[in-house]
Structures are given as structure tokens and as C-alpha cells.
């Protein structure tokens, strides 16, 4: 059906363990090879954890699906060697237009903050991301064993491992795993197998999403219509992806017949009316969905850890699905590594639920707010929504109230039990629990970026150019000191500005590039205590 993309078909291969009838104990088994499962595999390999990935299918995402990737997940994917390809192939946009009825209400420019390696967001079809990740995985056969056409059908929790029953075209076999990461999507089979609750709010609304190839030039802008003449009473979103493919989301309302709406003869006239000027286009893919805002009651069930849509499902407004899923993995993998190595207690894994359930609730809140604006639930809330849109044409204050989706930004773990609270005064946006801001730096005379110089483990980042220690230890953990002014040069002062970096200021940074603690001077004993706290020791 698609003209711009050829779906790969990955071969099924019978594993040696199934062929020989041996039950092997694996360190980590990842269930699901969507964007989150593949991120988990690459992050495990990055951290040196051998893993097996099981997927019941044998290709990438069908249709564009998750199309908007935000800065922090792109930084994670950059660490996993997929960032450059995504940013090169993806489309960046800054200009947005909001229409109400038959007229333009207002325009906005996102005006991205300068001096970051990664843009605020890109649009890219999900199948490209998955393809790039599968390519990277092929470079790590030493650590990643990716198996297609493997479906988990049963699961048993033991004290210190999980036993999985897996079905392949060759029949069923058993596998054992110290830890299982369940990335098997919103309809997660593993979630049912562990008996988890998945509760929240269903919305009585349906959306049609379509990928359309434009034959002529069309501006790279995000257009959002409320109540347009070509689709009265509903909302429509148009934005650009790679290959001149445009993604259109039509709100259908609850009464819509999903099967009928999916038919090209229904979609094509609607798009033609929307574009309005007879320009040529071709329909590539369409799908109808109903969404929910809900999350699992605990991200950890014994030795099974849930991530991505298997753990939380949000509305599509604000691109919070894949983006938060990648951040789940960013949070989880370093903890698994330390626990598997015996460097941290198993209790560290519980902080995964603490931190990511907190983030999921924040995402659900944002997503529910957008949904309430876009699809008002009563006559009175529709009146308020329409009043906001009418006022937005002439008044700045009302534009701030227009909510067609707030772009996904990382939720800081401000109350995390892993943080050490500030004992001194700091200004600015960074706090214990926030992800590290990037900054342009120089290293060995070459231009680079701060985030690319933070290590795989804990890092002590100090604005003391001549620190007396080269590393700080706690137990078997060693945190090397990265001295600004010696190891890296803050050529333009951006790093100091973003980190409130008076001379001597020292940050303890977690392996997932989040701030664990900070001080106005470098004190090895304090740092060592903060490492202990950050690993739940």
C-alpha cells in the first residue's frame, strides 16, 4: 500500500535453545520489538547487559503511528547511535497555525533555544525509527539476540527469576530470565499474565489518522483546525513527516463508523476539501483508533518490569507515547545493570516504579487536559473552549489557554528518594531530579556537546578546573571527575549559565544523565554519600 516505504520482512530463525531443548537462564528478556523494546535492547547493549528480544511479528510498525520525537528521547537515542539518522531524516518545524471555523486564529513560532545538539522535536514515521534501531542491533550480535515470530504465552514468577513459555513456528519451549522487560504495547499480554490492573479513563471519541503524499510543495508547518468548514464540529491536525508524507488526524466523534471512515472513498474527498485548491495527493495509509488515558498500578511485578504503552496509555496530543516510553527505558536500564552486577540492592528497581509512575501521572494529566480542550464533554465546556478560540484571535492571554497538545517534555523526578536535596542556594532550571541540560563545549580543541561527554556510569561534573581527586567511589561504583576548564572547555559560558556554575560548583550526575545531587564545592565524602542514596543503598 505504501509508495514511499518498503517494509522489511525479518527472518524467523529457530534458536539453538529451542532446537536442542535446553532451558537457558538469560539476564534480560525483552518482550516486544516496537520502539520501546528496541530502545531497551540497545540500552542494555550500551550498558553491557546481554539480552534477548522476542517479538510475535516480523516487521516494523505499519503506518506512521508515533510521528513526533521530542528532545530528551532523541538525546537518549543519540546515545544509542540512532540520533543522527533520525535527525537527518526527520522534519523539524517551528511555525504552527491554529484555525477556528473558517479563519486563521493565530500563528506561533516555537523559537527553539539555541546551543543544543538535538532539536526540540522532529517528525518522523515510526517505521524509520524501528528500522534504524534494528540496523544498530545487527551491529551488536555479542549482546543482543533479536528473535522474530516468538510469542510469550505463559509466565511463572520464581523467587529470583521468571519462566516464560514461548511459541514459535516450531512449537513451544521454555526460557528463564533474571528480569523481563515487558514492552508489548497497550494490549500487553504480559500485563494480563501477571494480573496487573490497567485503569484510567476511556474517551468517547474516535480519530482517523491518514498518511498522505503531497505532489507539490506545501509549507513545513503544523496546522490545527477547530471546527473547520470541511469537518464541522470536529478537529483536524496536519503535519509533515519525512518523504513528503503528511500526517492528518481527523477527529470523528463517538458515533462514527470506524470501518466506513477508513475507506479511501471516504477519506480522499475529505482531504481534498481540506486542501481546498485541487492540489494532487495520494493516500498511503489510514487507521481509526479510540484512545484511553490509563496506567498500570505498578511498573514492577516481581521480576517483570513494564515500559512504554504496556505501562501507560495516553492520548496522542502532545506526543507522549513513544517519547515517555523511551524515557522509561532510560530510567530502568542503568538500575538493572547495577543490580545485575551486584553493585546496588534490588530495592533500586523499585525506584523505577517510583520515578516513572510519577512521570506517567504527569503525562496522563497533560494528556487529559489537552483532550478536554479538543473534545469538550459538555455544552458548557464547549462554550468555554469556543470562547478561548474566539478571544485568541486578538488577545495574547487566550492563546496561552489554547491547548491542541502540549509537547512532551521530561518530567523531573523532583521528589525522588534517590535525590540528595540541595543544602546550598542554586538559581536556574536545573534541580536534583531534572535531566541534564546540554551545552556546547570543546574537548581537545574540538567542538562537542556536554551530554556526549557524560560517562556510562555516575559522573562528577565540576566547575573546579583543578580538582584534587580524579574519581569518587562508593562500594564497587566509581564516578570519574569531569572537570570543566580542564577536561572540557565551556567556550561560550553556556554550561556555566545553565548549571548556575559559579567556580567550584559540583554536580553528581546519574547514569541516565539526571542530577542526583549538587554542591558549591567538591567534597568526595558528600559525593560518596549521594551515590549511596542514588542507588538505594
Amino acid at each position: 500500500m505504501l509508495n514511499t516505504y518498503q517494509y522489511p520482512e525479518f527472518p524467523y530463525v529457530q534458536s539453538a535453545e529451542q532446537k536442542e531443548g535446553r532451558v537457558l537462564r538469560h539476564k534480560v528478556v525483552i518482550v516486544g520489538a516496537g520502539p520501546i523494546g528496541l530502545t531497551a535492547a540497545l540500552d542494555c547493549a550500551y550498558r553491557g547487559i546481554p539480552c534477548v528480544v522476542l517479538d510475535d511479528n516480523n516487521t516494523v510498525s505499519i503506518g506512521s503511528r508515533a510521528v513526533c520525537y521530542a528532545k530528551r528521547p532523541l538525546e537518549v537515542l543519540d546515545r544509542l547511535a540512532c540520533g543522527d539518522r533520525m535527525v537527518d531524516k526527520g522534519v523539524s518545524w517551528n511555525l504552527g497555525k491554529v484555525f477556528f471555523g473558517d479563519e486563521l486564529s493565530y500563528e506561533f513560532n516555537l523559537l527553539p533555544e539555541p546551543d543544543h545538539k538535538i532539536p526540540a522535536m522532529i517528525n518522523l514515521q515510526q517505521y524509520y525509527l524501528e528500522e534504524y534501531m534494528v540496523d544498530e542491533i545487527a551491529k551488536r550480535p555479542d549482546l543482543i539476540d533479536l528473535r522474530w515470530k516468538h510469542k510469550v504465552t505463559a509466565l511463572r514468577q520464581e523467587n529470583d527469576h521468571v519462566v516464560l513459555t514461548v511459541e514459535t513456528p516450531d512449537g513451544a519451549f521454555s526460557m528463564e530470565a533474571d528480569w523481563v522487560i515487558a514492552c508489548d504495547g497497550a494490549n500487553s499480554g504480559l500485563r494480563q499474565l501477571v494480573g496487573a490492573n490497567f485503569t484510567g479513563q476511556f474517551f468517547q471519541d474516535r480519530f482517523l489518522i491518514a498518511d498522505v503524499v503531497m505532489k507539490a510543495e506545501f509549507p513545513t508547518e503544523r496546522w490545527f483546525w477547530f471546527d473547520p468548514p470541511f469537518h464541522r464540529g470536529q478537529s483536524v491536525l496536519l503535519h509533515r513527516q519525512a518523504d513528503n508524507v503528511w500526517r492528518i488526524d481527523f477527529q470523528l466523534g463517538w458515533g462514527a463508523d470506524a470501518e466506513a471512515e477508513k475507506k479511501p472513498e471516504r477519506i480522499i474527498p475529505r482531504v481534498r476539501e481540506m486542501l481546498g485548491d485541487g492540489r494532487e495527493f495520494e493516500l498511503e495509509w489510514a487507521s481509526v483508533y479510540q484512545f484511553a488515558c490509563r496506567r498500570i498500578d505498578n511498573f514492577r511485578y516481581g521480576r517483570v518490569l513494564f515500559a512504554g504503552d504496556a505501562a501507560h496509555q495516553v492520548s496522542p496530543f502532545g506526543a507522549r507515547g513513544a517519547n515517555t516510553g523511551v524515557q522509561d527505558i532510560d530510567n530502568l536500564t542503568w538500575k538493572l545493570k547495577l543490580v545485575l552486577d551486584g553493585a546496588a540492592p534490588v530495592a533500586l528497581i523499585d525506584s523505577y516504579d517510583e520515578e516513572r509512575a510519577f512521570a506517567a501521572d504527569d503525562n496522563l494529566l497533560n494528556s487529559t487536559r489537552s483532550t478536554d480542550f479538543i473534545t469538550p464533554k459538555s455544552n458548557s465546556s464547549r462554550l468555554f473552549r469556543d470562547a478561548v478560540l474566539a478571544l485568541a484571535k486578538d488577545h495574547d492571554f487566550a492563546r496561552k489557554l489554547v491547548n491542541s497538545g502540549r509537547l512532551s517534555t521530561p518530567t523531573p523526578y523532583l521528589n525522588s528518594s534517590l535525590n540528595t536535596a540541595d543544602a546550598e542556594m542554586f538559581a536556574g532550571l536545573m534541580k536534583p531530579g531534572t535531566n541534564c541540560a546540554d551545552a556546547p563545549i570543546q574537548c581537545d580543541g574540538k567542538d562537542g556537546w556536554l551530554l556526549n561527554h557524560l560517562g556510562k556510569g555516575f559522573t562528577v561534573l565540576t566547575l573546579n578546573a583543578n580538582p584534587q581527586v580524579s574519581e569518587v567511589k562508593f562500594g564497587v561504583i566509581t564516578a570519574p571527575v569531569l572537570a570543566v576548564g580542564r577536561d572540557i572547555i565551556d567556550v561560550r559560558g553556556v554550561l556555566a549559565a545553565r548549571y548556575d556554575g559559579k567556580p567550584g560548583t559540583t554536580y553528581l550526575i546519574r547514569p541516565d544523565q539526571h542530577v542526583a545531587a549538587r554542591w558549591r564545592s567538591l567534597d568526595a565524602e558528600k559525593i560518596s554519600h549521594a551515590i549511596a542514596r542514588a542507588i538505594a543503598a
Binding site: S380, L383, F384, D386, A387, V388, A390, L391, H395, F397, A398, L401
Partner: protein
């Protein structure tokens, strides 16, 4: 600052007439939309979340 519920409008009869007159030509739906705009304009002018919350409560909103 707390919500001022003491008389604060000079010429209350004149204001009330102006309010009613402003909607005289509107049907119920148009008036309801105008009321929403009015609330939003005034709420933005007040700005203080605590004052707004008190007003929502006094107006009979579920808080």
C-alpha cells in the same frame, strides 16, 4: 490578596443595566458564549489563582 465581596462598583444600578443591555440583542446561546468570554477576560485580569479559586467556590462550583 483575597476575593473582595464588599461593594466595589460605583453606580451599581448603572453597571447592572449596562450588563443586561450588553446582552439584550443576543439569543441564549450567544449570551452564554459572551458570558464565557467575559469570565475569561476578567479571570485573566485578576490573575491570582487563590482569588479565582474562591470565586469559583462562591459561585457554586465543585472544588
Amino acid at each position: 490578596m483575597s476575593l473582595n465581596t464588599k461593594p466595589n462598583i460605583a453606580d451599581p444600578d448603572g453597571f447592572y443595566q449596562e450588563l443586561i443591555d450588553s446582552q439584550r440583542a443576543l439569543d441564549d446561546q450567544q449570551a452564554a458564549l459572551m458570558n464565557c468570554k467575559l469570565i475569561l477576560l476578567l479571570a485573566n485580569h485578576i490573575g491570582d489563582r487563590e482569588v479565582l479559586r474562591t470565586a469559583l467556590r462562591l459561585a457554586g462550583g465543585a472544588m
